[in-house]
C-alpha cells in the first residue's frame, strides 16, 4: 500500500507541473491541431469526390479524425522527451538513486500529465467537433464503455512505446531523431492519418499484428461503431497481451542499458 502511495504522489505532482506550464502545453496541442486541419481538408476533398470509401462515409471519417486527434495529442510534448532528456543530461543518475522503480514512476508521471492534458485536449476536441459540424457521437452506452476502455489501453500502449524509444537514447547522443522516427511509425501504423481499413491487404496484416493500432485505430473504429462486439473483445485480449509484452521488453532494454550507462560529471 505504502509503495502505491509513492506513485500516486508522482501523479499529483505531474498534474501540478502540467498546470504550471499550461501555455507551453496549449501551444503544443494547438500545433497538433494544425496538422489535423490539413489532413481534415484533404479527406474532405476526397469524400466530396467519392461519398463511400471502404464502407466509410464522410460523417464516419469525421468521427474517426476527431478521436485520432484526441488520442494522438494525449501523450506528447514533455512526456515524449522526459526519458531521453534525463539520459542525455545525465540526470538519470539522480533517478537511479531514488527509491522508486523508474519505469513505474515514469508511468505515474505520464498519467498525471495525461489527466491534466486530457482536459485541455478534450476541450479542443469539442471545439474541433463544433467547427466541423460533427453530430454523430455513439448512442449506445455500451459503445461508450468499450470506447473508454480502448482509450485506456491506447494510453498505456503509447506510454510504453514512447518509453521504450526513449530508452534507446542510452545508445545515441540525442533524442530528436528517435522521437521523429517513433512519431512517424506510430502515426502511420496506428491509423492516425489514414484508417487501417484502407490499407492494401499485406499492409493491413502487418499493422494488425503490430501494437500501434491500439493507439488510434481501435478506439476510433469503436467510436464510429464499425467494430462488431465479438471483434472488440478479441482485440482487447490482443492489446492486453501486447501491453504485458511491451512492459517486459522495456524492462529487458533497461537491464541492458544499465550495463552500458556512462554518466558524465559527478
Amino acid at each position: 500500500m505504502n509503495s502505491l502511495k509513492k506513485y500516486v504522489r508522482h501523479v499529483l505532482c505531474a498534474i501540478q507541473e502540467t498546470t504550471a506550464y499550461r501555455a507551453s502545453y496549449f501551444i503544443n496541442i494547438v500545433s497538433q491541431f494544425v496538422s489535423y486541419i490539413a489532413i481534415f481538408f484533404l479527406w474532405k476533398a476526397v469524400f466530396m469526390a467519392q461519398p463511400d470509401i471502404g464502407g466509410m462515409a464522410w460523417k464516419d471519417m469525421q468521427g474517426y479524425l476527431l478521436i485520432s486527434l484526441f488520442a494522438s495529442a494525449l501523450i506528447s510534448g514533455s512526456s515524449e522527451f522526459r526519458v531521453s532528456r534525463a539520459i542525455w543530461t545525465g540526470n538519470i543518475a539522480v533517478e537511479l538513486v531514488r527509491p522508486v522503480d523508474y519505469q513505474k514512476a515514469n508511468f505515474a508521471i505520464t498519467v498525471g500529465n495525461g489527466i491534466a492534458e486530457g482536459v485541455l485536449v478534450a476541450a479542443i476536441g469539442l471545439v474541433f467537433a463544433v467547427l466541423i459540424g460533427f453530430t454523430a457521437p455513439p448512442e449506445n452506452p455500451v459503445t461508450w464503455l468499450y470506447f473508454l476502455l480502448a482509450l485506456a489501453f491506447s494510453f498505456i500502449t503509447k506510454f510504453l512505446i514512447v518509453y521504450i524509444f526513449g530508452l534507446f537514447t542510452f545508445w545515441t547522443t540525442g533524442g530528436m531523431g528517435i522521437s521523429w522516427f517513433r512519431r512517424g511509425i506510430t502515426d502511420f501504423f496506428s491509423g492516425a492519418i489514414i484508417p487501417l481499413s484502407f490499407f492494401p491487404a499485406w499492409l493491413k496484416t502487418v499493422s494488425d499484428i503490430l501494437p500501434f493500432r491500439g493507439i488510434v485505430s481501435v478506439p476510433a473504429t469503436i467510436f464510429i461503431g464499425q467494430m462488431p462486439e465479438s471483434q472488440i473483445l478479441v482485440t482487447f485480449a490482443v492489446e492486453i497481451a501486447w501491453i504485458a509484452g511491451l512492459w517486459y521488453i522495456a524492462r529487458l532494454i533497461w537491464h541492458f542499458a544499465m550495463r552500458k550507462v556512462t554518466i558524465h560529471g559527478g
Binding site: Y21, A23, S24, I27, N28, V30, S31, V34, S35, I37, A38, I39, F41, L42, K44, A45, V46, A49, Q50, I53, G54, G77, S78, W171, T172, T173, G174, G177, I178, W180, F181, G184, I185, D187, F188, I193, I194, F198, F199, P200, L203
Partner: protein
Amino acid sequence: MRLGRTLFLFSRFLAQNIKIKLEYKADFIIMLFTGSALQLLGLLFLGVLFSKIPPIQGWTMWEIVLILASIFFTEGVVSFAFEGMWRTVRLINMGDLDRFLLRPVSPILQILVYDLGIHGIGNMVTGAVLFVLALSRTQIVWTADRILYIPVLIVSAAAIRTAISFAANCSAFWLTSFYNAFPLMVHQMADFAKYPSTLFTEPIRFLVTVVLPYAFIGYVPAVYLFNKEPWGVVAWLVPAVALWCVVVARSVFYRGLRRYDSPGN
C-alpha cells in the same frame, strides 16, 4: 567581399559540423535512416489514399508527389545546412548567445550553422529520387523558362523555410519558457503547402499565401510547372517572397536581440 567571407565561413562551419557528427556513428546512421524512412511513410500514405480514390480536384497522385518531392528536398537542404536555428531557444535561455555576440561574425550565421541535421541528407536523397520518379509520370512541357525556374525555386524555397522557421525560433526572446512549441507549430503549418491550396478554406489560404507564404514553396510552383492555371506565372515571384521573408526574419532577430539580457554566469 562580405558575401565571399560569409560563404567561406559557412563552408568551414559545415566541415567542422560534419566531423562532429561522424564522431557519433550510431546517431549518424539512425538520423540518416530516419529522414528517408519518414518521407517514405508519407509517400505510402499518398499511395494508399490514391489507390482508393480518383484524382483530387484534378490533381493526380504523381503531381502531388512532385509537390511533396520538392518540399522534401528543400526541407533536407535546410536541415542539413541550417539545423542550428532549432537550438535558438536553448541558446537564448542558457545565455550561450553571449559567446556568439562577442565574435566578429554575424550572430545569425553562427546560430544557423550551430548544428547540422544528418536527416537532411536522407530528405534530400528521397526528395531527389521522388522528383525524378514523378517527372517520368507527369506531363510537363519543358520550356526554357521552366527549366530555369527549378534552381531559382530550390534556392528561394530554402530561404523561405529558413527565414520563417528562424523567425519563429526567435520568439524565444519574448517567450522565456524553456519548452517553446511555437516554432514547431509554425514549421508544422508547411503541411498546408503539401496539397493544392484550393482544398482549404479562405482564411487558411490567406494564411499560407500571405502571412506564412508556404504556398510559394509547393503549390504555386506546381501550378506553374504543370500549367494548371493562367495565373501560374506568379510563381516567378518566389525570389521576391524569399527576400521579403529574409528581411523580416533579420529584423525580428535584431529586434529580439535588443530585448536580450544574458542570464549571466
